[in-house]
């Protein structure tokens, strides 16, 4: 069985977001690889692995909310009510 193959699902080329940060997928940011050349090298990751980590984080945060309370109140909804109240 073949193991890890970056070429199997190569991430898109990065877009620059700030002086220090690039982005390959919407809202998924990376430290500029130019800042990772001397002491720590950036890992190459296939797209599926990045997506797995991002969705794993959302799962973790949802689980944490559920751990502490039955429901989460929306601030955006409250702001709309305040604006409607005048």
């Amino acid at each position: 069985m073949l193991g890890f193959r970056l070429a199997a699902q190569k991430p898109p080329d990065p877009q620059r977001i700030t002086d220090d940060v690039v982005m390959r997928f919407e809202h998924v940011y990376e430290v500029d690889p130019a800042l990772m050349t001397e002491h720590v090298r950036q890992q190459e990751m296939p797209a599926w692995d990045t997506h797995r980590i991002v969705s794993g984080r959302w799962d973790h945060l949802a689980w944490m909310h559920d751990h502490f309370a039955d429901s989460v109140i929306s601030g955006e909804e409250l702001l709309r009510e305040i604006e409607a109240d005048g």
């Binding site: 977001i17 990772m36 720590v40 502490f68 409250l78 702001l79 305040i82």
Partner: protein, 502 residues
């Protein structure tokens, strides 16, 4: 300093007390229990290695281990999760390390009197999971919520992220059993009743043994509050164009008077700058976002919802811009588990390096926060200028009072440290910096620590200054309860008590 092995006869006694499978002298068992996540002098690791590790399963076993230590004059260091940030669990004189992790059972859930009695090795997250079917939670909520243990929370007198609503460890622990430094097993609380929340009978001994950092015994059982699981959670993050605006808003929110208010957190400008490096919530924020204030509430929906609406009004009226539900909810959820965050910092040239996280904390009056912030950052800047291994990660302040969240704030400066670079010179400079950070806190009318404790190198030198005559009483208590100085010797400068007696 080389570690001297315990005599075979002592090891045989430990095996007879705890069982062979619960006594360890191998390198991995010893080295892994020499440090905690606080900055550690890795170039002097050997100085902190225990001579043996035991994992007892009962208070009686712990009592026997402590009596043995007294007979042979061997130091004893208790350890729970080992997540503390003031080195309470770090041995200073080697000795026997008592790890309580196997004592992790729930002993009783009392739905009538609303208590849960546990052993010290249980973790708060696991405990709350066990309580969920009954509709309860144990809301002691440090940044190490998924990995710290009840025994360590008592040993450090921990601070909770949602303490403004539910109280901190000292408020949530009703009573506990402790093995004294001479081996006797006693129970302390408010008065004698195991489940009594308020008593006027006798000295209030619970507080004496809260935050002792292992110098006054080993906790073996605790009776805790059962708190109704909240129906609703609300969190809101507001952005401000300047620190001073955010600081004023923090004061307004903390004084808002809502009983469901669980905490207010202020991020200073340096913190926001740091987060812009690689935090997905802050990277896309416009330049006008310089400082952030977060608010959280918990309770019954009928209470939280109307109060949350007022909080949104206060945030808006104070000039704050709501950062949206996604950031507010996700960032708040992430705050329950800061130990899982992988960390790196930057050299002065901007290169990424692996760094350990150090969080220096103090309790500071609200009015003094701006000047403390300036002085602490100046100290951190001085370190970074001299050694390209320190990185200022900015400051948070959090509401500190239990149930009354105004007045003083847990104040933290996060400093990244490239630990592989430690040598004697940089370590000495770091210890000096910690001492200066502590001095600023005391001069501002604050306390050296709201959260971690104050017994590490550097800051500990200021404990007598902070406590004054109180430190003299601490020494007398230590001498009276631990005549042979076996319990975590060297901590909190308490060796001085024995030098004076000699």
């Amino acid at each position: 300093m080389a570690t001297i092995a315990l005599a075979d006869a002592v090891l045989e006694e430990l095996v007879a007390i705890c069982g062979e499978e619960h006594v360890f002298t191998g390198k991995s068992a010893l080295y892994n229990r020499a440090r905690v996540p606080a900055p550690f002098p890795v170039h002097r690791w050997d100085d902190h290695i225990p001579q043996a590790v035991v994992l007892p399963t009962s208070a009686e076993q712990i009592s026997e281990v402590v009596k043995l230590a007294n007979r042979h004059r061997i130091p004893v260091v208790p350890r729970a999760g080992g997540t503390g940030l003031t080195d309470g669990a770090v041995p200073l004189r080697h000795g026997i390390l008592v790890d309580v992790k196997l004592m992790n059972r729930i002993l009783e859930i009392d739905l009538e009197d609303r208590t849960v009695t546990v052993q010290p090795g249980i973790n708060m997250l696991k405990l709350s999971e066990e309580l969920r079917p009954y509709g309860f939670i144990y809301p002691d909520n440090p940044a190490s919520y998924p990995c710290s243990l009840v025994g360590g929370r008592i040993g450090t007198s921990g601070w909770s992220l949602i303490g403004a609503r539910y109280g901190h460890t000292r408020d949530l622990v009703i009573s506990f059993e402790i093995v004294l430094p001479t081996g006797e097993i006693i129970r302390v609380g408010d008065g004698g009743g195991k489940k009594v929340r308020k008593s006027s009978s006798g000295y209030q001994l619970k507080h004496l043994f809260m935050g002792h950092q292992g110098t006054l015994g080993i906790v073996t059982e605790a009776t805790l509050e059962l708190v109704k699981r909240p129906e609703a959670e609300f969190s809101a993050f507001f952005a401000y164009p300047a620190y001073v605006d955010a600081w004023k808003a923090t004061g307004d929110l903390a004084r808002s008077g809502f009983a469901t208010l669980a905490g207010v957190v202020l991020f200073d400008e340096k913190k926001v700058e740091y987060l812009r490096r690689d935090d997905e919530a802050y990277i896309p924020q416009p330049d006008s976002v310089k400082s952030v204030v977060a608010v959280a509430m918990y309770g019954q929906a009928a209470e939280v919802r109307p109060a949350a609406k007022e909080i949104m009004r206060i945030g808006k009226d104070s000039g704050g811009t709501y950062l949206g539900d996604e950031i507010s909810q996700a960032d708040w959820a992430a705050r329950h588990d800061r130990y899982a965050t992988p960390l790196h910092g930057r050299t002065r040239s901007g290169q990424v390096v692996p760094m350990g996280w150090h969080c220096e904390d103090a309790a500071i009056p609200y009015s003094a926060l701006p000047q403390v912030r300036e002085r602490w950052h100046a100290i951190a800047d001085g370190l970074r200028e001299r050694f390209d291994m320190f990185d200022d990660w900015g400051m948070f302040v959090y509401t500190n009072g239990a149930f009354k969240p105004w007045g003083d704030f847990l104040t933290e400066i996060d400093i990244g440290i490239w630990e592989m670079r430690w040598d004697e010179e940089s370590w000495a400079a770091w210890v000096d910096a910690k001492r200066e950070i502590g001095r600023v806190a005391v001069e501002a009318g604050g306390s050296l620590s709201a959260c971690h404790g104050s017994c590490r190198e550097g800051e500990v030198d200021l404990v007598p200054l902070e406590l004054g005559g109180g430190f003299e009483v601490m020494k007398k208590i230590k001498c009276a309860l631990d005549p042979n100085n076996v319990m975590n010797p060297g901590k909190y400068l308490l060796d001085r008590a024995y030098e004076e007696v000699d």
